[in-house]
């Protein structure tokens, strides 16, 4: 059965985080950096493209210095609106600025085993099972490769991962684990099999590709070349900066935004220079270094502010945003995870970030937890309800009902109550039971989330992928493994 997808639209609350003047200053500073300092593009293919368009290229350092007008003109060619296609068209995701979609997080390396509770290395079967649960859960709109299939050969691992996701779900797949041209070509070929041909794929991109930048002010060569291949085939391509205050970016938040922005928009400009009009997106998960350990924090007020601010930048460039949220540094599903993931998600949603990445990982996107996955979905559900805001009209002011009840009565037995009560939020995992009931069982949200994940895995049967298609995907992967 194909499941409906819950996404935020028509928001009724908003955020005032960067003024138009602020954005302009960040933009001007970013262009200044790209032009005077430059960004490193360690790929001769990328450097050739830059050179052909008049940028200053240093072949030794591989640093590109591009004039502001070149960047601006290139970015103008990016389509502001497009759709992430799903195996089932009912689950297509229009990136139109009026939707917030949640994906699974990626790419973890360990899994808290759903049956034994032990922490172990991730494998291909985990990717398949997580995809099956994500296929069922309506808060999840699309997939990232959630964990690494470490039992597959390194050079085809990313392809096995997307294959089993397609085999277990009809929802859109976005991969963040392809960083070579060869893998990208195979992935495009696989996506074309799913879509029903290269031209169909261009119309209905069932796969999108997310690459990371290399802060400060750098790109990864393999990632660039993979992105160019994907863009040529019409797959949406995004670049994510994870600039970290005080280590890979200035300690100040505005300075961090400038460095990350320079990385992202220079990469998007490159894609537009190579393939004008190709669908691209901005992606970011900026943070601040932990001042004690030097670690990536995956939470804290700086992350939450970046979560709110980045869509203002993406809107300025008129491209969709994929925003890191839920990315807690907590070691297990606990208070820290709840605080981190609630605030990051709230901020990214209020500013209507198009895609949120993502649910399910702990310890700075390293450890997969099904419990955290489903509890993260509940956090999104809370924010989803908040984004509906407070509707004021005759029906909601309910004067007749207030009159009917009068002082000292109650509203429980009013028809108006019955009519509207289902608009009120009902939790799946929050513990609102009487104390005595809790005292008897001493269980809670984690237990219920675990039970639900087990139940979904035991009962949910995703719309199967045609075995012939599946065999074709395997053949494509095998051809690289010879």
């Amino acid at each position: 059965m194909v499941r409906r997808i819950k996404s935020i639209s028509d928001p009724r609350i908003s955020l005032n985080i960067l003024s138009p003047e602020d954005v302009q200053r960040i933009h001007t500073a970013t262009l200044d950096i790209i032009e005077s300092v430059g960004v490193r593009f360690p790929s001769h293919k990328a450097l050739d493209i830059w050179e052909a368009h008049g940028a200053t290229v240093d072949r030794d350092t591989m640093v590109v210095k591009a004039p502001g007008h070149l960047i601006e003109e290139a970015l103008k060619k990016a389509p502001p609106v497009y759709t992430l296609a799903a195996r089932d068209p009912e689950q297509d995701l229009p990136l139109d600025g009026n939707h917030v979609y949640v994906g699974t997080d990626g790419c973890g390396v360990q899994v808290i085993d759903l049956e034994t509770g032990e922490l172990r290395r991730s494998r291909l079967q985990d990717v398949a099972e997580i995809a099956r649960v994500a296929d069922y859960v309506e808060e999840i709109a699309f997939h990232w490769t959630p964990v690494s299939a470490q039992d597959c050969p390194p050079h085809t691992r990313s392809l096995h991962e997307i294959r089993v996701i397609w085999e277990n779900s009809t929802k859109h797949v976005q991969t963040e684990s392809i960083y070579s041209e060869e893998e990208a070509r195979a992935a495009v070929e696989m996506a074309a099999v799913i879509a029903g041909g290269k031209e169909e794929l261009r119309k209905r991109p069932v796969l999108s590709i997310m690459q990371c930048t290399t802060p400060p002010l750098g790109q990864d060569g393999g990632s660039l070349e993979a992105a160019l291949v994907a863009a040529e085939a019409g797959l949406p391509v995004g670049f994510m900066t994870m600039t970290s205050c005080a280590s890979t970016a200035p300690a100040t938040l505005a300075g961090n935004l400038v460095v990350g922005n320079a990385e992202v928009i220079s990469a998007l400009a490159l894609i537009q220079l190579a393939h004008p009009g190709a669908p691209v997106f901005y992606a970011a998960a900026q943070t601040a270094m932990d001042l004690r350990t030097g670690g990536y924090t995956g939470g804290g007020p700086e992350d939450f502010l970046f979560g709110g601010a980045t869509n203002v930048l993406a809107d300025f460039y008129n491209v969709p945003l994929s925003m890191g949220s839920f990315a807690t540094g907590a070691k297990e599903p606990n208070w820290q995870a709840g605080v981190d993931n609630s605030l990051s998600t709230l901020m990214a949603c209020i500013s209507m970030s198009d895609m949120l990445l993502g649910v399910g990982l702990l310890h700075g996107s390293r450890i997969w937890s099904y419990e955290q996955m489903l509890m993260d979905c509940e956090i999104f559900d809370i924010v989803y309800h908040m984004m509906k805001g407070i509707v004021v009209n005759d029906e909601t002011l309910a004067l007749d009902v207030i009159r009917a009840v009068g002082p000292g009565g109650n509203f429980l037995a009013q028809k108006h109550t019955k009519k509207h009560m289902r608009e009120l939020w009902v939790p799946q995992f929050m513990d609102r039971r009487p104390y005595s009931e809790w005292e008897k069982k001493r269980d809670g949200p984690r237990d219920w989330a675990r039970e639900k994940a087990r139940k979904i895995l035991a009962t949910h049967e995703p719309e199967p992928l045609d075995p012939k298609v599946s065999a074709e995907l395997k053949r494509i992967i095998a051809s690289l493994e010879k």
């Binding site: 000292g408 109650n410 429980l412 037995a413 009013q414 028809k415 109550t417 019955k418 009560m421 289902r422 009902v426 009487p434 104390y435 005595s436 009931e437």
Partner: protein, 216 residues
């Protein structure tokens, strides 16, 4: 014809339609249907359905309350005929309930009263700010099985003990059971004052009351 009418009665309770429930009760009387049968084969079926749906998480507290209101309204229409025929609805027990003196908090107590009534108890709701002797007098007068005492304040909660002691002094206990509730009340407090039971919410109070009268 009767079956259809009974189904409509159950549905009126499920939908919480008070006027519709009353109309169907009148129709039953006009057709000469035994009012006891109308209650047991019609309205009670709806109450049970709502209870089951609530337990399954599909229906909510306002559904229960509205179902209770519809049930009560229907029974109200049928009662004169019940009395005329000399038959009586079999009740699970009789409950006297109120908020203790000095305390005017109403909603929790009223909710418990509604739930008990819907579940099949005869309920006498004394309202709020009820003096201790009034609980005792009413319990004696109606032959109560259970006295429920509500308190929302730590300052009024202490008088729940007075109700227990007054019922002891009047010789009504242990036949009459005392149940206590309210935000500051705990099982520990109930034990300390010698009450017979405590519940944190209205649903639990129904289960408690049934247990105390041996109905479960």
């Amino acid at each position: 014809m009767g079956d259809e009418l009974f189904q409509a009665m159950a549905q009126s309770v499920i939908d919480g339609e008070v006027e519709e429930a009353q109309r169907l009760a009148r129709e039953a009387l006009e057709q000469g249907i035994d009012p006891l049968e109308a209650i047991n084969k019609g309205f009670v079926v709806g109450v049970n359905y709502v209870g089951d749906q609530y337990a399954a998480g599909e229906m909510f507290l306002p559904d229960l309350v509205l179902a209770g209101e519809a049930m009560k309204a229907a029974v109200g229409v049928l009662e004169p005929e019940l009395a005329r025929r000399g038959t009586e609805r079999e009740m699970l027990g009789t409950v006297v309930i109120g908020t203790i003196e000095g305390d005017i908090h109403d909603i929790g107590k009223t909710l418990v009263a509604t739930m008990l009534s819907t579940a099949g108890f005869k309920v006498y709701d004394l309202g709020v700010d009820v003096p201790v002797p009034t609980f005792v007098e009413k319990a004696r007068e109606v032959g109560a099985d259970i006295v429920g005492v509500s308190a929302l304040l730590t300052t009024t909660m202490v008088k729940q003990r007075d109700v227990v002691e007054a019922l002891d002094d009047a010789g009504l206990r242990p036949r009459v059971k005392v149940i206590v509730g309210g935000a500051p009340v705990t099982q520990g407090w109930a034990d300390e004052i010698g009450a017979d039971g405590y519940s944190e919410d209205a649903i639990g109070a129904v289960a408690l009351a049934k247990r105390l009268v041996g109905a479960e």
